[in-house]
Structure formats: C-alpha cells, structure tokens
Symmetry: D2
Amino acid sequence: MQHGDYPHWSRDTIRYGDTDRQGHVNNAVFSTFLETGRVQFLMNSGRPIRAPGTNFVIARLVLDFKAEMLWPGEASIGTRVKSIGRSSFTLEQIVMQGDTVTAAGETVMVMVDESTRKSCPLPEASIAALKEMQVAP
Amino acid sequence: MQHGDYPHWSRDTIRYGDTDRQGHVNNAVFSTFLETGRVQFLMNSGRPIRAPGTNFVIARLVLDFKAEMLWPGEASIGTRVKSIGRSSFTLEQIVMQGDTVTAAGETVMVMVDESTRKSCPLPEASIAALKEMQVAP
Amino acid sequence: MQHGDYPHWSRDTIRYGDTDRQGHVNNAVFSTFLETGRVQFLMNSGRPIRAPGTNFVIARLVLDFKAEMLWPGEASIGTRVKSIGRSSFTLEQIVMQGDTVTAAGETVMVMVDESTRKSCPLPEASIAALKEMQVAP
Amino acid sequence: MQHGDYPHWSRDTIRYGDTDRQGHVNNAVFSTFLETGRVQFLMNSGRPIRAPGTNFVIARLVLDFKAEMLWPGEASIGTRVKSIGRSSFTLEQIVMQGDTVTAAGETVMVMVDESTRKSCPLPEASIAALKEMQVAP
C-alpha cells in the first residue's frame, strides 16, 4: 500500500461511541468512513465532478474488512476512480488507522437528475475530472 | 413510576451498534431516545401542535442518567408537557428498558418561524394541544 | 419477494437521526439494519449457531441499494443462509420498509476462536443449525 | 469566548451522516461531541485523573444549544473543571465550529469502583489533577 496509489485522502476522528460491546469500532462505522472520503472527494475536492442540477446516488457498496479499528485514533480514507460508465462510475477506497489497512471498499455511484430523480449521462466535464482521479494499473 | 404519568409513549429498538466498549448503551444514544419520543409526540401524534410555516428548535436538554441500558432490548420513552411559555414549552421525558427507568430528561423547545428563523408566539391551537399533554401534579 | 423466502425476520425503528441532509435515511444506516438482522439471527434466535468459546467476525459486506428509506417508519430485515464453508458462511439479507425492498445484502461471516482470535472450523451443531436456515433455490 | 478559558481542547470531524433531514447536525451528535472532549480529557490527557480499578460514570448532562452546526467542518470542544466533590466532579464544556460557539454543556461525572460498581471517593492524585484543570473565575 503506497499513499500515491490513491490521489485523494480524507481524515475522520474515531469516536468513543463508534466502538461497540466487542471493544472495537463497529462494522457499520466503516461505511461511514467510506462516506467521509466519498463526499469530500465528490463535493469538496474543488473538481467539477458534480454538474449543476444533478446529484449522486449510491447503488452498490462492497466492503472487505481487513483489521479491526480501535479507539482512540484517526481514520484515513484513500479514494480513487476505478472505472467510468455512461451515467455511473466506480470508486475504490481504502481505510487505514495508522499504517494498517483496516478495510477496502468499492462503491458504484450513479448521477441522477435532481428534477426527474432518474439517472442521467455524465457530462464531459465530470468525466474529465473523474479521469484525473483514476490511477493507471 | 406509573405509565399513566406520561400521556404519550414511543418505542425504539436498542441496536447492537448503540453499545460502546464499556458494554452498555452509549450515553449519547440516550439523547437519541429522547428525540424519538419528542419528534413522534410533536409531529406524529395527530395533535395540531405544530403550526403551518413553523418548526421546533431544541434550546436546552437536561438528562439524568439512572441506570445503564443493555443490548438486546427495547427503549420505551414517556413524554409529557411540563410547562408552556409564550414561544416555548418544556417537555419532561423518561426512558425505560423493561420496568427500569434508565433516564429522566427535560427539553426546552422553541417554536420558530420557518421564513425568518426567529422565535414566534405559540398559536392558540398549539397551546390547547400542549395543555392536553400536561399532567396535573 | 415473498416473506417465506427468508426464514428469519427482525425489526428496527427508523430514527429521526438516521436521516441526513438529503432527507432520507443515510446509506451507512443500511449496514446497521443488516447488523440488526444478523446479530439477532446469530445470537438470539434460540439456535446453537455460535459455539462456546467462539465468536463471529464479518469479513465482507455487499449492499445493493434499491430504494430510499424515509422517516418515520420501521425497517424489516429478512435473513437466510446462502452457503456454508469450512469456517465461514454467507448470509443473504433484504431490508424492507413496508412493502418496498430497499436493499439487498450479503455478508461473509467467519467463526473465530476467542482465545487465539483465529478462524476455526464450524462445529457440527453450528452447521446443522445453519442448514435449517438455508432456503432451497 | 477566549480559548484560554478552557485548558483542554479536542477536535472531531463533522460527518455527512451527522446531519439530519433538517439539513444541520442532529442534536444528539452534540452529546457525542461533548463525549469526544470528555473522554480525551479524562483518559488521554496524560494526567492521572483516573485511578487504577476505577471508572467514570456520567450522572447528569446539561446542554444549551446556541447555534446550528453544518457539514462540512470540524467541531472544537473546550473542557474545564467547574467543581470537585467527594466522589464526583462537574465539567464545563463548549462546542465550537470555527469561531461560533454552538453549544455549552455541563456534565456530572462520578468515580465508581470497577469491582463493586459503586461510587468511591476521588483519590488525592485525581483531585490534584482535576484542580489543575479548573479555571479561576
């Protein structure tokens, strides 16, 4: 795992209440960490991924749990674009605590028209912005 | 504690992820249980507490923790009106798991005008509806 | 979708705080609903799935989002066994609000020895209990 | 509000899922932010507040909501000791987003013996450590 493999990194604080009675971070919080990376990537990265009048809907989430996470600490979330379709694209993410990869995730995001709430084709600008976040294999 | 002391009861499911590393339900979830009772009381009880064009804002929350809550199980939340002011009112609530009172809470709610986002006087209909939920001492 | 397709059903309360600024239930809460069904299925169904001295660890989670969920309401979670391996098994789940299937999920669970924290073979009794929760195609 | 009024500061990340359908951070998350400051203050500040074989239990929580919090952003939590009793003490906290105080809180914490689960007197070392975190009026 090299940091350079993911062009976008976000951070989140591991909360005391994120733990459950097993003593570690509850597995549903891993979905939250993926979201932290994803929304920052899509909405706050300064790139014109989202077109006016559109929004993103999550269609599929795959999470592979690699190691438990413990309080206290921080989560680092790496995000990159895996593939780009007509109206959807797939993100690849990893979650780390310190030097340990704790999870790997994949999410399929669909662009929807905010008025019709139906999927719509990704505009050129979005595709160009997403391509920059793709990492060559 | 008699159930009749609270005219409105709500239920919530205690979730596995509500627990924390101490093995019991995390204290912040108690605020969520109060909210479960409060929003159902204010918005879904069939009473015209909320006037069109207005909303409720929470101004103050007091929580006295009485006993720990454990997964699995259910939370029952009793709600009643303690006092009614000009643009605000105070709710009294208790949280129970089975026969055990686990917390007592008090919340001050303010009615705000949705357009100005400022507090506004409670209309007659709201006051009448709130009075019905008041329990004589 | 027939209820009979899933031998085990759990319920959870949709909380006001489960919603996010998009107005619907936040996607990470869907993982929580899967967990609600899973832990009840594995730990509280009266079946001897878990052997003494062992625990279950989630290795993989796949979630297909079908429809948004809205507050207020209830989540119903159907759970069944898809396949059984040497030390792991796969659960298939659906999440419903009313008559609408809002998500379909798959989780790979691994049995671990509590002392060594390593995976261990599923005992006969666990396999028998899991087989009863398998639905013939 | 001067930062020097609070000797201990913690930070937490405002998460997308912290928001609710009203568009702002859900009120129950404010309890979580107080907890973030409190547990770091009590357990990770390098001060010997907690004695071996003891733990802290929250007895009372008071929260005054001052302003709404919005995603994205960070929460800063200031914590200080208000008063020290025989087996309990009271913390005063504020929550800020940027330069805005969004909430003020007070929590009564009780030291309990981990074996008996009953309250026990604060040892000298704990009292001394707490006194250092008290701010003269």
